[in-house]
């Protein structure tokens, strides 16, 4: 049985945001890099892929065309991560926040103004799945499963990072950067490496999204993606691996799937009221969590328990 297209799209967004929140967990939750430009890196992947896939006359067909464009788009997002990471490396939290937000804004402006490449405000079509089952709903379902596999891979990576010396180093840098430096840790290089890899993966998630929607709109480069990612992560608990998963499920999942799919809301609400209501509810959820449970619903990292499980004692 093939799922309803609306539900597939909703699930796709939830899974994609879980992936973004997991990557932000590594940046913000562990290393305290306050990246508020998630949508910028995601958008670089999305638009680079779209432009390469649609505008370039490749000498080969799908799926090789998709793979080549996806790899290049991911690399472009990673390169942006390297550049932005280098620029913000020595800034305090406020500076990082403004710098990354500025980058995301620049990406949105570039996508809007470069009409020849991106179609500007009119958007750009021509994207398609790198396979064809003959049924759009089946294609979408398969793509959703591919995304689930990708995000499961990201989850496994994050889980491993928590148990590895690398994770220890990220937490150390996030807790006290000068102290980590004084212990001989290559702080800047570690932060740059992390930011590059996570930004590249954010770009890859943008690629996945582009194929799913098959039409690029500059409106998708607004603050909503970043906001949903940050809210999900903070609500769930930014220092816990599962915080990203639980937080996104309880916010985006609950609103986009449960409320929109199963509540009998008036049809006219879907154009303006629901998107606004979504932002308001996310804001309220964020405030309530910050006031009553500042470390998120899953609370503190409880690394002591984790280490006890791993090493005994």
């Amino acid at each position: 049985m093939v799922l309803d297209t609306f539900l597939i799209t909703g699930l796709f967004n939830v899974v994609m945001l879980i992936g973004l929140a997991l990557l932000l967990h590594l940046q913000l939750g562990l290393t305290r890099i306050a990246n508020f430009g998630v949508v910028g890196f995601w958008g670089v992947g999305l638009y680079t892929f779209g432009v390469l896939y649609v505008r370039v006359d490749w000498p080969f067909e799908d799926p090789i065309q998709f793979v080549v464009c996806a790899v290049l788009a991911t690399a472009a997002a990673g390169l942006c991560g390297l550049l932005i990471g280098w620029l913000i490396a020595d800034l305090d939290v406020d500076g990082v926040l403004v710098g990354t937000l500025g980058f995301a804004t620049a990406v949105a402006i570039l996508a809007t103004t470069e009409q020849g490449l991106t179609g500007g405000a009119r958007g750009m079509g021509g994207l398609r799945f790198p396979y064809d089952s003959g049924d759009v709903a089946v294609n979408e379902l398969i793509w959703l499963l591919v995304l689930v596999a990708l995000v499961a891979g990201i989850l496994a990576y994050v889980w491993l990072v928590h148990r590895a010396p690398y994770g220890r180093l990220l937490i150390a840098i996030g807790s006290n950067e000068p102290l980590a430096r004084s212990l001989g840790k290559p702080v800047t290089r570690t932060k740059l490496g992390l930011f590059t890899i996570t930004s590249a993966l954010m770009g890859l998630l943008g690629v996945m999204y582009g194929v799913m929607v098959r039409f690029l709109e500059v409106s998708s480069l607004g603050i909503e993606v970043t906001l949903a990612t940050v809210v999900g992560l903070v609500v769930g608990g930014s220092v816990r691996v599962l915080g990203a998963v639980v937080g996104v499920l309880l916010t985006v999942g609950f609103f986009d799937i449960v409320i929109q799919s199963y509540l009998p809301l008036p049809a006219e609400w879907y154009t303006q009221t629901i998107p606004l209501m979504r932002e308001v509810l996310f804001g309220v959820a964020l405030i309530l969590v910050l006031v009553f449970r500042p470390l998120g619903l899953l609370g503190h990292m409880r690394r002591d328990r984790l280490m006890k499980r791993i090493h005994g004692g």
């Binding site: 220890r168 150390a172 996030g174 102290l179 004084s182 212990l183 001989g184 002591d304 090493h311």
Partner: protein
Amino acid sequence: MSETANVLEVSGLRTGYDGIAVLDGVDFTVGEEVFAILGANGAGKTTLLATLARLNPLMAGTVTFRGTDTSGLRAHQSAGLGVGYVPQERGVFPDLTVMDNLRVGGMFGNRSLQERVEEVFTFFPDLKRKLNLRAGTLSGGESRMVACGRALMQETTLLLLDEPTAGLSPLYVSTFFEAIRRIRFERQVAIVVAEQNATQALGVADRVMVLSLGRASAAMAASELTTERLKHAYQI
């Protein structure tokens, strides 16, 4: 003491913050010994130690560690040479367990991590029972022990201790200074300790230097430091 025996040589050091010098014209050498830096609150002890660890900028002068000029190095490069730094405050990573804090220090050196951890326990046996606790839950004294233990995990040959006993109970103070004395002899580590607690510091120090009003006195044997000189430095 011959020149080659010097672990640390500081010459014409000027350092401070935002272009404003806190200390100027500081010269001293440290051999295989415990070297105490005394001074009142605000005398520049923390600034000096952070500069020696290459966390603060060097505005003038040179710092040479075991024959290598570290003046142009960054903190992590200096640490790689064997300079261990234990800050006065925020000396542990609060979200990491005690064991993880020790492991973070174990990046350099040839000996196994386990061997080094066991060695830390010989100096600070209390840590053995707290290994899986988050460092953020420890008392002030226990945190200092973790920070000092972590510096030892680095296979440090020069240990910079910034007011290691500030705010601690008398019991912890004597325990800590006893550990410093043992580290000095059993690990053969040169130790520079900045302290306000002159009595305790002089009890373990071989030589001493006093900071006052942005200048440093000439280094002297701990036994040569007179009460008058100390009173003057502390502006009593």
